[in-house]
Amino acid sequence: MKAVLSSADITRALTRISHEIIEKNRGTAELVLLGIPTRGTHLAERIASEIGRIDAGEIPVGTLDITLHRDDLRSRPPRPLTPTRIPAGGIDGKRVVLVDDVLYSGRTIRAALDALGELGRPALVQLAVLIDRGHRELPIRADYVGKNLPTAHEEVVRVAIKEIDGEDSVSIANAHE
């Protein structure tokens, strides 16, 4: 297993993404952050609080479960759903930033866009990821990337975050490790 990002690297990356989100959206008006469970949810909360700190305001943040929209449901036993929590103002006309830990095939984001489509009609949707490991299978790209990480297919990217795993780190392992 090879360490790729340290705790400090992750904090730096999230801070940079926070700045980029403000910059690209020319402020924080109409901004809504939606994390994709489970690690994306916590990353979204961290980015929201960082944006809030920079901009001195409260950014609506929620979580978007995509399980029912996955296209690989039949490959594994059924998974429990995780809650979808949409901030009180909804998403209609908002600038929605989806947040996930790793961008890989793009299928998760496709499912997230489908799930989002059922909840309302945002003005625009952007994507922030901590890691982009390549190997896209759909025409999807991230607007904000913590780190581009070239990987081989058989490698596994492990993202650990304090809220779940007790520490912040990103590492690469071979599948059999």
Binding site: I36, P37, T38, G40, D65, I66, T67, L68, H69, L73, R74, S75, R76, P77, P78, R79, P80, L81, T82, P83, T84, T108, D114, G117, E118, L119
Partner: protein, 323 residues
């Protein structure tokens, strides 16, 4: 996203097929799906390409429509196969029908049948998932799940938890009143409510309790006034009047005086209990006309809850691969 795969059994034939964790997973999933049902677009792609057959040997429009709505909201293809007027009524056996449905590619069969154990038999003959939608006087597991869902929503919500999600039913006292002997709803509810930690009291004349009920995890009470005193929820069962002919009770009047629910009886209740009824109500028999109105609201809510619970069951049994 969470990768905790569930380990539920393949079929839902009886509440005995569920662990406490399975039951809570179904209720929590239903809770999440209820939000989807509130959304303007009421359709999810989850079961696209899957075929669900409603195989109903007894008329039960309510249950059939509920399963149909649940399956369709998950984008499954639904085939309604009513026994009346089909080859089934011309003497085709349940086994032949099962094999026919299998060759048609049914991924799941939802079976309503007058014979206890019919769903168990069907599961022995087909590769697909079998969901018991009521078999004779045995069980009706999805009805019990929706009853538990409704009870939890009303009695286990708190300021931070509007629907009681994640909670079981421990600490609640629930009375089930009426014809326990012939009730599949009662059998499933006894198993499920006990599994979820509730204290159950059965209230019925001794003729309408099965021999062997001593083995059930319940208390028996012949006095409805006493049972209702300390009760959080009361579940009234539908009484079939033809039972009178087999000497189960002397008259409708005596039955409703001793075991019916009316305003006077409710005066004995210390807390205001939640009243459930699987519907349709025999007004003036098991529930007095004036109390029935109060119950109707919960019955309507039960219809919506029924769809959510059945969506959850369909998703958890059909949404993934079963090895």
């Amino acid at each position: 996203m969470s990768d905790n795969a569930t380990a539920m059994k393949k079929h839902l034939l009886s509440i005995n097929d569920l662990t406490r964790e399975d039951a809570l997973l179904i209720l929590d999933t239903a809770d999440e799906l209820a939000r989807v049902s509130d959304a303007p677009i009421k359709k999810l792609p989850t079961l696209r390409g899957r075929t669900v057959v409603n195989l109903f040997y007894e008329d039960s429009t309510r249950t059939r429509i509920s399963f149909e709505a649940a399956a369709k909201r998950l984008s499954a293809d639904v085939i309604n196969f009513s026994a009346k007027g089909s080859s089934v009524s011309k003497g085709e056996s349940l086994k032949d029908t099962a094999l026919t449905l299998q060759s048609m590619g049914a991924d799941a069969v939802i079976l309503r049948h007058g014979a206890s154990g019919a769903a168990h038999r069907l599961a022995q003959w087909t590769n697909g998932v079998v969901i018991n939608a009521g078999d004779g006087t045995h069980e009706h597991p999805t009805q019990a799940l929706l009853d538990a869902f409704t009870i939890r929503k009303h009695l286990k919500r708190s300021s931070g938890n509007a629907t009681g999600v994640g909670e079981d039913l421990s600490g609640l006292r629930i009375s089930i009143v009426g014809d326990i002997l012939h009730s599949r709803v009662a059998r499933s509810n006894v198993l499920l409510l006990h599994l979820l930690g509730a204290k159950i009291t059965l209230v019925a004349p001794p003729t309408l309790l099965p021999v062997g009920v001593e083995e059930w995890p319940v208390e028996i009470c012949y006095d409805f006034n006493e049972a209702i005193e300390d009760c959080d929820a009361v579940m009234m069962l539908r009484l079939q009047l033809e039972r009178m002919k087999s000497a189960f009770f002397p008259s409708a009047r005596e039955y409703s005086r001793l075991f019916g629910l009316d305003r006077e009886r409710l005066l004995h209740a210390r807390k205001k209990p939640l009243i459930l009824h699987p519907g349709p109500i025999n007004r003036g028999l098991e529930i007095s006309a004036e109390s029935a109105d109060a119950v109707e609201s919960v019955i309507l809510e039960q219809v919506a809850n029924g769809v959510s619970v059945r969506m959850a069951v369909l998703y958890l049994l059909l949404g993934g691969a079963h090895e």
